[in-house]
């Protein structure tokens, strides 16, 4: 498909793709914001949820935080490589980020399997409902981001659409930031 003239204009001075990704994040922020605001209000009204929160495995949560932060770091390196015009290197760093995403999901699966097999399911009580819903919604974003990075890396390896490396990176940092909010709220707060 030929790119329309509309796509090539930049009346605001901000590249079109970057503008779009920020608006996408704005719409995502209110989704997660709404969910977390509900959780916070409930949590304040239910001190007894602390008992349930105590069951969550902070060590696993911390490990996952570390994995996700590292994957954000490789996303930054990919962006840096793309700015230098080195598509191959950018693609390689994006693959590292995807590996980070997979590792995160793997650890998360183990954690959920462990909790569910010990009887802590989404219907156990309000805390566990929010725990699985919020982390599940976040995990869906991790999966979406990993898939998007796969497509971008494929193009970048051939030196095409290098500006997308930055865009997918911005999205990935957002996914990371959401987890930075989830980790203390679901794991650390007792």
């Amino acid at each position: 498909m030929q790119k329309p003239i509309a796509t090539t204009r930049s009346a605001s001075g901000i590249p079109t793709g970057r503008l779009a990704i920020w608006w996408l994040l704005a719409s995502e922020i209110v989704i997660f914001g709404g969910l977390l605001a509900c959780y916070l209000l409930f949590r304040l009204g239910h001190p007894e949820w602390a008992d349930a929160a105590a069951v969550t495995n902070t060590a696993i949560g911390a490990t996952n935080t570390f994995v996700l932060l590292t994957s954000s770091f490789t996303a930054v390196l990919a962006h840096q490589a793309a700015e230098r015009g080195d598509g191959k290197k950018a693609a390689r760093f994006l693959v590292f980020t995807i590996i980070g995403a997979c590792l995160f999901l793997g650890i998360k699966s183990y954690e959920w399997w462990y909790e569910i097999s010990h009887g802590y399911t989404i219907t156990s009580n309000g805390f566990w409902s929010f725990y699985y819903t919020a982390a599940g919604l976040h995990a869906a974003h991790v999966i979406a981001g990993a898939i998007a990075m796969g497509f971008v890396a494929k193009d970048a390896a051939q030196g095409k659409e290098l500006q997308r490396v930055e865009l997918v990176g911005i999205y990935w940092h957002f996914v990371d930031v959401v987890w930075i909010f989830l980790f203390p709220l679901l794991y650390i707060a007792k």
Binding site: Q2, K3, R9, S12, I31, G34, C38, T133
Partner: protein, 571 residues
């Protein structure tokens, strides 16, 4: 060295170029990325859904006026069917008629044309947005035919009624309804991002912020408003879906949940949603009125600021839907004040329109009639809202037919009158032929007059204490005597529906007509009138894309031969 990331211009590449060669039927009508085709897809889908929603109203109005009769064309209406009909009438009219028609169809058609671009910035995301929307429309229609019937828990879908299949008796219908609404939100988020970025980046050279036609401003402000208000409800919908299907207890007080939470999430979106559909309609009305008053728009900048103020204020009024839901009376005071405040910018918008008319040389064309009736009808809707925004009187009026009549007096001008205003005004540009003025005026009076006869009786019924969502009022002796009012409303509805046949006849005639519409039949200034009707692929030849030299409302400028001054004409 940020070349790769900051350069917005990319080489065209790849082999999948498409354009002026002949495309297959499927590709042209179902796989097109042309904003004009996508606009038509949205338009036809929303007109189809409007017919469905209108016929639903016919069926349940018949049941209310003549309880227990075999409704011609439908048969006996059972209580369950009645619930499903009123629920889906509301849902369809808001989510599958008002939004796709006002925002998606006209936004897609007008934004690129009015700002002098050849398409949206993301044509394929645009196509994806319509496809998701189409799936959601098919889902909501399919949900009427599943086991247990369509969802019957009202369009507001309050738990625990909506969360528990044992209460609403339509477990499957409820879940499909929720998924359809969520998909519809996704479609409009994608479309909204496209609209906003297109306006911000793809304006014609020379088009500054205050040269943008008000219609485009309004659609984009509405898209931002939608985007920022719908998020919490998406989260809430996930929670409700889990309550329905996984047996969680987010909204179940017995298990630590809170049903009022849904009301907050729903109305935090639901009230801004009113302005999401109102602003585009106001935009159409303003463009039409400036054109046919042949006068410069009074207070262009005020208009834009007012729209932004309305959008911001609309985030702080939602709890006026919950005055009797057990919220703190002190909170009710706060929300009364904010609600009454929001009538200030709305009144300002109407005054700007009236001031534009003052001293103009008004031409009573069909689109102008629709635009003027918008002002008159919406005014009644706005004024009756004061009674509901004030918590004291709302306690009596809450959940009665007064509320119902009030919001139909707002949504009917917005979706139906605004929709017809836009349709009759831009029809020549979209389809390349003119609509018949006489038939158009017959249809106009045949729609607007019966409308008053439907809803003025319902105001009276509401004041008489008649509650909403009741299957048969004959079971309430103190309400039974008001039956003539119900019959009047139903008969007026049937008259209104019959007059829509005039519209479809007019539409059919014009679509088959061989007479070509001129490029600028209304002598208007905005850029869409500077290209042939209908515009060719790409809207303008690539080397003749328009440049903008002035604002969109330079009508009757002294010392000029013509009373209009197109935006792209060098001075």
């Amino acid at each position: 060295m940020a070349q790769a990331t900051t350069a917005p211009v990319q080489d065209t590449h790849g082999h999948d170029t498409h354009g002026h060669h002949d495309e297959g039927w499927f590709k042209k009508y179902f796989w097109s990325t042309d904003h004009k085709m996508i606009a038509k897809q949205y338009l036809w889908t929303s007109i189809f859904m409007a017919v469905v929603g209108g016929l639903m109203a016919y069926v349940f109005r018949m049941q209310l006026a003549f309880p227990g009769i075999e409704v011609p064309g439908f048969g006996l209406v059972s209580p369950g069917e009645y619930n499903a009909l009123i629920t889906n009438h509301g849902s369809i009219m808001i989510f599958w008629v008002a939004m796709p028609m006002l925002i998606a169809a006209w936004g897609n058609f007008l934004i690129p044309l009015m700002i002098g671009a050849d398409d949206m910035v993301f044509p394929r995301i645009n196509r994806l947005s319509f496809q998701i929307f189409l799936i959601s429309a098919i889902l909501i229609l399919a949900s009427l035919f599943v086991q247990g019937g369509g969802f019957g828990g009202a369009w507001t879908s309050y738990p625990p009624l909506s969360a528990n299949p044992e209460y609403n008796l339509t477990g499957l219908g409820a879940s499909i309804w929720l998924i359809a609404v969520a998909l519809e939100f996704v479609a409009f988020l994608l479309g909204g991002i496209n609209f906003i970025v297109t306006l911000m980046n793809s304006r014609a050279p020379g088009m500054k912020a205050y040269d943008i036609p008000v219609t485009v401003w309004m659609i984009v402000i509405a898209s931002i408003l939608f985007m920022l208000s719908v998020g919490p409800l998406i989260a809430g919908a996930i929670m409700l879906l889990f309550d329905q299907t996984l047996n969680t207890g987010f909204y179940d007080p017995a298990r630590g949940g809170d049903p009022i939470l849904w009301q907050h999430l729903f109305w935090f979106f639901g009230h801004p949603e009113v302005y999401v559909v109102l602003l585009p309609a106001i935009g159409f009305v303003i463009d039409i009125i400036a054109t046919f008053a042949r006068k410069k728009l009074f207070g262009y900048k005020i208009m834009v600021y007012t729209a932004v103020a309305t959008a911001v204020l609309s985030f702080f009024v939602w709890a006026h839907h919950q005055f009797i839901a057990g919220i703190d009376p002190r909170m009710a005071n706060v929300f009364t004040v904010t609600t009454l405040l929001i009538s200030v910018p709305i009144a300002e918008l109407l005054f700007v329109i009236i001031a534009t008319l003052y001293g103009g040389s008004i031409k009573f064309t069909t689109p102008m009639l629709w635009a003027l009736s918008f002002v008159a009808t919406f005014l009644i809707g706005g004024v009756t809202g004061i009674f509901l925004g004030a918590s004291g009187s709302d306690i009596y009026l809450h959940d009665t037919y007064f509320v119902l009549a009030h919001f139909h007096y707002t949504f009917f001008p917005i979706a139906i009158i605004g929709g017809f205003a836009a349709f009759t005004y831009w029809f020549p540009k979209m389809f390349g032929t003119m609509l018949d003025e006489t038939l158009g005026k017959i249809h106009f009076w045949g729609t607007v007059i019966p409308f008053q006869f439907i809803f003025i009786p319902l105001f009276a019924l509401g004041l008489g204490g008649q509650h909403r969502r009741i299957y048969n009022f004959q079971n309430f002796p103190e309400l039974a005597s008001m039956q003539p009012l119900r019959v009047t409303a139903t008969l007026a509805l049937i008259v209104m529906i019959l007059f829509q046949l005039v519209f479809f006849w007019n539409l059919f005639r014009s679509l088959r007509s061989k007479e070509k519409a001129p490029m600028n039949p209304w002598k208007a200034n905005t850029l869409e009138w500077t290209t042939p009707s209908p515009p060719p692929h790409g809207n303008w030849p690539p080397d003749q894309m328009p440049k903008v030299y002035r604002g969109p409302y330079e009508y009757s400028v002294p010392d000029r031969d013509t009373d209009y001054w197109p935006q792209n004409e060098p001075s």
